[in-house]
């Protein structure tokens, strides 16, 4: 029973998403798409943070690489959406390969500072190369052409493309986490000396995790560019890099579903709180404070702990 639980949860999630796509109104559709994009970004990111133990402040650069890669490809080369996404992800992979090559030489605070430096380099390039990137205006007018004969121009149609990529991301990340490769990553984060004595090339594994997380950031970026029909220079700013960290933390750093649950909570809470006050960010700060001070497992980690305690109590009672 326990073995099939993740698959059942995954199936239920997809059914729920399809139902939302068929019956919900435009506003809910848009919010759900934002949740899914944030989840894709955070799921990839958490492979690096939760699994490998590296805190990056530069992943907004790869999100922006996806977004601008998609936009430039659409505007100058070919308006096909699938090729555009491929171009966006491709650019993000190249960028994360180059940047990652330098960054994985360090860990801890030096890694965080190095990714911050490279991320801000990308931001400054986007900001200043007006002729290519549009500077502070960004790139506008990204349309949604038919994909393999199906129209995706309307939000209600585009939604299913996002669901497809979301499901693909969940599946791939789950496979990676439970693969030998994913276990090595966890081993490195646990004790990197021991891992290197076991003959593992730590840098290559870290670089691989870096590039994979960069690729998913790029996927989220290119899908985001199509959703909003523009590319925003501030998507490369370091403050945007904090978003997947916050989401993973809210949902639970060391769980697989943490980033997804965190994204849902993040977007839904924002909508609810913004109904009542203008100070959503203030509440976000307070929520973060509470999580870091008291519930470091995040929503899923705390829920797991609670369930485990409850299950133990239940077993003890039925045994006596």
């Amino acid at each position: 029973m326990g073995r099939y639980l993740p698959y059942m949860a995954f199936g239920l999630l997809i059914v729920l998403l399809v139902c939302i796509g068929l019956f919900a109104d435009r506003f809910v559709l848009y919010l759900t798409m934002r949740v899914m994009l944030l989840s894709i970004f955070a799921l990839g990111y958490n492979l690096l943070l939760g699994r490998t133990g590296l805190l990056s402040f530069g992943h907004a650069a790869f999100y922006a690489a996806g977004s601008y890669g998609m936009a430039l490809f659409y505007l100058h080369i070919n308006p096909d959406p699938l090729l555009g996404i491929l171009a966006g992800v491709g650019l993000a992979v190249v960028a994360s390969l180059v940047i990652g090559f330098f960054c994985v030489r360090h860990t801890e605070i030096y890694f965080a500072m190095l990714t911050l430096a490279f991320g801000m380099m990308v931001f400054s390039l986007i900001w200043n190369l007006r002729d290519i990137t549009g500077g502070d205006d960004g790139l506008v007018g990204i349309g949604r052409n038919p994909l393999l004969g199906f129209s995706i121009a309307k939000d209600s149609q585009y939604y299913f493309l996002v669901v497809f990529f979301f499901a693909l991301t969940v599946w791939i990340i789950h496979r990676i986490r439970s693969s030998p490769f994913g276990l090595v990553l966890a081993g490195i984060s646990e004790n990197h000396q021991r891992a290197s004595f076991a003959g593992i090339s730590i840098k290559s594994y870290r670089l691989a995790a870096f590039v994979i997380s960069g690729a998913f950031a790029g996927l989220a970026g290119s899908l985001g560019a199509m959703l909003e029909s523009n590319s925003d220079p501030f998507s490369a700013h370091w403050t945007h890099s904090a978003e997947p960290v916050l989401v993973s933390l809210i949902g639970g750093l060391h769980t697989f579903s943490g980033p997804i649950v965190g994204s849902v909570l993040f977007v839904v809470l924002r909508e609810i709180i913004e109904r009542f006050t203008q100070n959503w960010m203030l509440w976000l700060g307070i929520i973060l404070l509470v999580i870091i001070m008291g519930f470091r497992g995040g929503a899923m980690g705390s829920a797991e702990q609670y369930l485990a305690r409850w299950g133990r109590k239940f077993r003890e009672e039925s045994a006596s």
């Binding site: 801000m120 400054s124 200043n128 190369l129 933390l249 100070n279 960010m281 700060g285 404070l289 001070m293």
Partner: protein
């Protein structure tokens, strides 16, 4: 041409000294507590807003505001360290950084609620409002004043750390926490003290920024904290000497960059930061690990 170069240098030096005022507190806190404090930019912002408020509400005397404003921010710093930061020292790096980041978000919004989201024009300082003529061009007097304050703060910090009893204890605790604690130093109290002192330095930077930057905005801490990070990294995390030199380098580089290659001034700074991290991660004056 020469006059222009002199002025680029002067602007760079004053900018560098200005960043140093903020980076000194950040570096001191990292050197002793081992925490990279994102909220340091918020203390800078709070310092600026408190000084501004004291200035506009009670008196026209800038110096009184500068003396009292940062003290109010110290109370905020005390609360942050004593009731929050103290409990995450033993945790992994992400939790520490995110805790200070949570405070950045909270303080930015509190400032927005209390002072409004728009920018506020700042007053000028009596006696330093004008400019002096240097090499045939006008240079703001207040910038010269900042250039004088920077080295004075550096000298003061050096004297305090090297020549006083308190400084010796701080150095002891930062080089070996357990040993200092075994010899009877109350390390937790010392940490609180150093954090509050670092906060005061950051808030002083903010107070001095009131006439310097011209406008106060709720996001002003986020810009300066990245500059301060760059400076702290270039000089070697935790090294005050390095931070001073790093601030001079960054000030001059950004001033020359803005003058000669304006599109890439920001890029230059971050490429220098990445280069130092790769080539000499301990910075110019940090100890090799």
């Amino acid at each position: 041409m020469l006059e222009s170069l002199i002025h680029v240098c002067l602007a760079g030096l004053s900018k560098g000294m200005f960043i140093w005022l903020v980076a000194s507190g950040l570096t001191l806190i990292f050197g002793v507590l081992g925490v990279l404090n994102f909220a340091h930019g918020s203390f800078y912002m709070l310092g600026a807003y408190f000084c501004y408020t004291l200035l506009s509400m009670f008196s026209d005397n800038f110096w009184l505001g500068l003396a009292l404003g940062p003290l109010c921010v110290c109370a905020v710093g005390f609360v942050v360290e004593r009731f929050f930061l103290r409990y995450v020292y033993h945790l992994h790096l992400p939790y520490q950084l995110l805790l200070t980041f949570a405070f950045v978000i909270i303080f930015d919004n509190l400032v927005k609620i209390l002072w409004g989201g728009g920018s506020i024009g700042s007053p000028t300082v009596t006696g330093m409002a004008g400019s002096v003529s240097i090499a045939g061009r006008l240079f703001p007097t207040y910038s010269l004043f900042i250039m004088a304050v920077g080295p004075l703060v550096a000298l003061g910090l050096w004297l305090m750390l090297e020549k006083t009893w308190a400084g010796r204890i701080i150095r002891a605790a930062s080089s070996d926490r357990e040993m200092a604690s075994a010899l009877g130093v109350r390390v937790p109290a010392l940490y609180t003290g150093v954090f509050v002192f670092g906060t005061w330095l950051g808030a002083m930077g903010g107070g001095l920024a009131v006439p310097y930057v011209g406008l106060l905005t709720p996001g002003m801490g986020e810009g300066i904290i990245i500059d301060a990070f760059v400076v702290a990294v270039i000089g070697g995390l935790g090294s005050l000497k390095g931070a001073f030199l790093g601030a001079l380098i960054i000030g001059l580089l950004s001033s020359f960059g803005t003058r000669f290659i304006p599109s890439f001034d920001m890029f230059l700074i971050f490429i220098l930061m990445a280069g130092v991290l790769l080539w000499r991660p301990q910075g110019f004056f940090g100890e090799a690990s």
